[in-house]
Structures are given as structure tokens and as C-alpha cells.
């Protein structure tokens, strides 16, 4: 292989190389070592949310967003809030958002920067439209369809395994500050839904987290028990149909309970 001693270049030349490198390639270069990342962030082709403008962040492709999430984790900045919305539903999705802020959490919108991406978990047998690609996640090649700048659809022979893999991957990849578990049983297959729900709960950070249950009237008692039993949530939001009803009583623990469009006693 033809090799080039990049770091031995004088700084002006090294900066020129970095400035001429395409965004996706410079992100990979930043991931190659902490030192490379530090040097890249001294240039205008920076890969840190601290340095990138919101316009640049908005232009990033889905895979690059995933990598920026990883880089932010390596940088360990206290100014980035990393949240994950884990949705267990007919179409399970891991929605990850990074919020960068300067000068404290009560700053204006202009001082905040957002990076959002989501990974959907689908069966490889599903007819999902789009060109299939392979991306490497945690040392494993995963077939995907990149649906937009923010959406990556991951395809699995076994959806439960896929959910478990992604949960573990993100637990290792991102030190999350906040997490929300969104549960929507409507239109799901009973056993598969229960399985994924259990996996999601295992990987879900319980501290200061939010549980949001939609269409609770479709929730099986056993699943409801799984999701609320012995777990102290920060907030529980229950959303149902206007005329729906909670079929059974259940116990839950949360600092805040929000009941929306639901009949029943709480």
C-alpha cells in the first residue's frame, strides 16, 4: 500500500490537506485517533459540534451523523446532551439526538445545535424500498437502507437479535444523558413485541428516564407489568384513544404521571 507520513507535514500543509478532504472522509480521519481528531478540530473543517455550524450539521448524511455521535462521545464534552428515544412498536426505532449548548442549559435557541438520527429495526424479509448497503456497526456488517439524511433502516434476519445488538452497541457507543422509552403496542405481533420490549428494558437507562405509552388499551397485561414493575421512572406519559380505557389496574412509580386522552382512575 502506498503510504504517506501525514503528521510529518508542516502545519500549514497539514491544514491544507484537511481543508481539501471531503466531509465524510475527514470524519473517518478524526475517528482514526484522538490526536487526528484534535488536529482536525483546529481547522475550519472541524468535526466537533462545538465548531460546526447548524447548517453544516444539517447537511450531514445519516452515516456521518452516527459517526459524529461517536466522536462527541470520545470528546466527552459536558456541553452535549445525548438522548435516546427508544420506540418499541410495530416499527421499532432507536432515535438518537445530540444537543450541543454553550453557556448553560437556559441559553437561546441560536446558541444550541442539534444533531438527530434514527435507526429503525426491520426484518430483512420486509419489502423496504431503497438501495441496500452494508455498514459496519461495532465490528459487525449490518445490511441497511439509508432512507434519508436522518434515517437508517437496519435489516435483520431476527428482529429481536437486531434490537439487542443495537441496544448494546449504543450503550457502549454513547454515554447517554437522557432516555425515553416509547411503547406503542398497536398493530404489533404479541410475542415479538414482548421480546423486544424486554430487550429494550434491559438496555434502557432507568435513571431520570421517561416512559411514554401510546395506545395503552392495546397493551397486554403481562407487557404492562414488564414495563412498569419495580422501575422508578422520572416521568410516565400515558396516551390512549379518546374513548379508550385501561383494562386493568396496575402499579407504577414515577415522579410525574401524565395522563392524556385516557379514561380511568389514576
Amino acid at each position: 500500500m502506498n503510504r504517506f507520513p501525514l503528521l510529518r507535514l508542516p502545519y500549514v500543509a497539514l491544514r491544507e490537506v484537511i481543508l481539501s478532504t471531503d466531509r465524510s472522509d475527514v470524519i473517518n480521519l478524526a475517528l482514526s485517533s484522538k490526536n487526528s481528531c484534535r488536529i482536525i478540530n483546529t481547522t475550519k473543517n472541524a468535526v466537533s459540534m462545538r465548531k460546526m455550524s447548524q447548517d453544516v450539521i444539517d447537511e450531514l448524511g445519516a452515516v456521518d451523523r452516527l459517526k459524529i455521535g461517536r466522536l462527541e462521545n470520545l470528546e466527552n464534552s459536558t456541553n452535549v446532551i445525548k438522548t435516546i428515544n427508544l420506540e418499541v412498536s410495530k416499527h421499532s426505532t432507536y432515535k438518537i439526538s445530540l444537543l450541543y449548548f454553550t453557556g448553560g442549559p437556559n441559553v437561546s435557541l441560536e446558541q444550541k445545535k442539534y444533531l438527530i438520527f434514527e435507526l429503525q429495526v426491520r426484518s430483512i424479509k420486509d419489502k423496504t424500498e431503497g438501495k441496500r448497503k452494508i455498514i459496519r456497526l461495532g465490528g459487525t456488517d449490518v445490511p441497511v437502507i439509508i432512507k434519508s439524511k436522518c434515517e437508517i433502516c437496519t435489516l435483520w434476519e431476527d428482529i429481536e437479535f437486531g434490537a439487542q445488538f443495537l441496544s448494546q452497541h449504543f450503550l457502549q457507543l454513547l454515554k447517554l444523558n437522557q432516555s425515553t422509552l416509547i411503547v406503542d403496542p398497536k398493530g404489533t405481533d404479541g410475542s415479538e413485541f414482548s421480546g423486544i420490549l424486554k430487550i429494550a428494558l434491559k438496555s434502557f437507562s432507568k435513571e431520570k428516564s421517561v416512559l411514554s405509552i401510546a395506545n395503552i388499551e392495546f397493551m397486554r397485561d403481562s407487557d404492562l407489568k414488564t414495563v412498569v414493575h419495580n422501575i422508578g421512572y422520572g416521568t410516565i406519559r400515558i396516551i390512549g384513544d379518546r374513548d379508550g380505557r385501561v383494562r386493568n389496574t396496575f402499579e407504577c412509580e414515577a415522579r410525574q404521571l401524565v395522563n392524556m386522552r385516557m379514561r380511568g382512575r389514576f
Binding site: M1, P5, L9, P10, S20, N28, L29, N35
Partner: protein, 201 residues
């Protein structure tokens, strides 16, 4: 114009051009001499300022010794001057601030830079030293293109980048190498204190 036909000439293998324009003489660190036109020199901010400051006449150019460029060897300097001659008279590009920078590599430049990476490294180093903006742009773009589609692990191999572990090990080794001297200084300081001296330096 092809790379081979570029008008840079080694003094021992070509005749002095008959044009009336002034040709300056430069000498590399391995004693190779080159004649370069006044217009071509303008591509290099460093050399342009140097010849302006020297204020040579046509006679001076011929009678005085060649201007020594001590940091660059003949092989590299030949490429540099071939590039300058080919692009003489062209405007020096101004950075428009676009990121990533949009740089096109012309065919002549691509052929000129069809060289091994060791020589490419020297060419970039020379372009930086002589402040030849566009040569620095195209040569750095060539290096940037090596990153296309590579994974972080492949980039470490292509660009000879140490991994985090290797960086840590090098840092520890450097600290350990420094320690004996630090200990010596400390011992010397303690000894002087014992002797009652209150100033160390």
C-alpha cells in the same frame, strides 16, 4: 504543454534561452543549478520577495553566484520550477473560504505529481517553504484524495497515523526519558540547599 517539455533546465544540459527576459539562477542543496524566468518566480512569494530585495541586474544574474536554496534538493526543486514555468503569469489563487476546499488538479499537475510519496512529501514541503499557494493547493489535494472512501483503520495505515495506544506509549516513553534529568536537577537543587545557598539559578 507536457511535463517533459516544461522550460526548466539544468544548467549543464540546456542552452540559455534567447528571450530577453531575465532568468535567475538558483542552486539546490545538492549543488544542482536551475535557470528560472522572472515571471515563473512570481508564483513563489518567498522567491519573488527575495529577488526583489536583491535587485539584481541582467549582469548580476550572470556574474554573481546562483542563489542557494539550502533546504531543497535538486530533484524536488526541478519539479517546483517546472510547475512554476508552466503556470507563470497565472493569478495567485485567493482562498474563498469554502469548506471543504474545492481544488481541481489540472492534467499537467497530475502528471507532474505522478511520483512516489517520498518525493510528493518533499514537493509539499518545498511548496510550503517557498510559499507557492497553488502548488500547495494541488499537492495537498492529491494527499487528501488518498483518504477517499477509507475506513479509520485504513486511514491509519495510509497516513502512518499512530493509534491512541501508540500515542499513549510514546508519551509515557518521552516522560520516562525526561525523568532522569529531572531527577538530576532535583538532586542538584537539594544539594545546594544543604550547602546553604538560597539561589539555584
Amino acid at each position: 504543454m507536457s511535463v517533459e517539455n516544461a522550460p526548466v533546465v539544468d544548467v549543464d544540459e540546456a542552452a540559455i534561452p534567447v528571450e530577453k527576459k531575465m532568468y535567475y539562477r538558483f542552486e539546490s542543496n545538492d549543488k544542482k543549478e536551475f535557470r528560472v524566468s522572472e515571471l515563473a518566480i512570481q508564483q513563489s512569494e518567498t522567491l519573488n520577495r527575495l529577488v526583489e530585495a536583491m535587485g539584481y541586474t541582467s549582469e548580476d544574474v550572470e556574474n554573481k553566484p546562483a542563489i542557494a536554496i539550502e533546504n531543497i534538493d535538486g530533484k524536488t526543486l526541478k519539479l517546483v520550477f517546472q510547475w512554476c514555468e508552466h503556470h507563470k503569469g497565472e493569478a495567485i489563487p485567493v482562498d474563498d473560504g469554502s469548506v471543504p476546499k474545492i481544488v481541481e488538479i489540472p492534467e499537467f499537475d497530475a502528471k507532474l505529481m505522478d511520483i512516489d510519496n517520498g518525493l510528493l512529501f518533499k514537493l509539499i514541503w518545498a511548496a510550503d517553504y517557498l510559499n507557492i499557494v497553488q502548488l500547495l493547493n494541488v499537492s495537498c489535494k492529491k494527499v487528501a484524495n488518498m483518504a477517499q472512501g477509507k475506513t479509520p483503520a485504513q486511514l491509519r495505515r495510509v497516513y502512518l497515523l499512530p493509534s491512541d495506544e501508540e500515542d499513549e506509549a510514546a508519551k509515557r516513553a518521552a516522560q520516562e526519558a525526561q525523568d532522569p534529568r529531572a531527577r538530576e536537577v532535583e538532586e542538584e537543587f537539594e544539594e545546594r540547599k544543604r550547602q546553604g545557598g538560597n539561589s539555584f539559578f
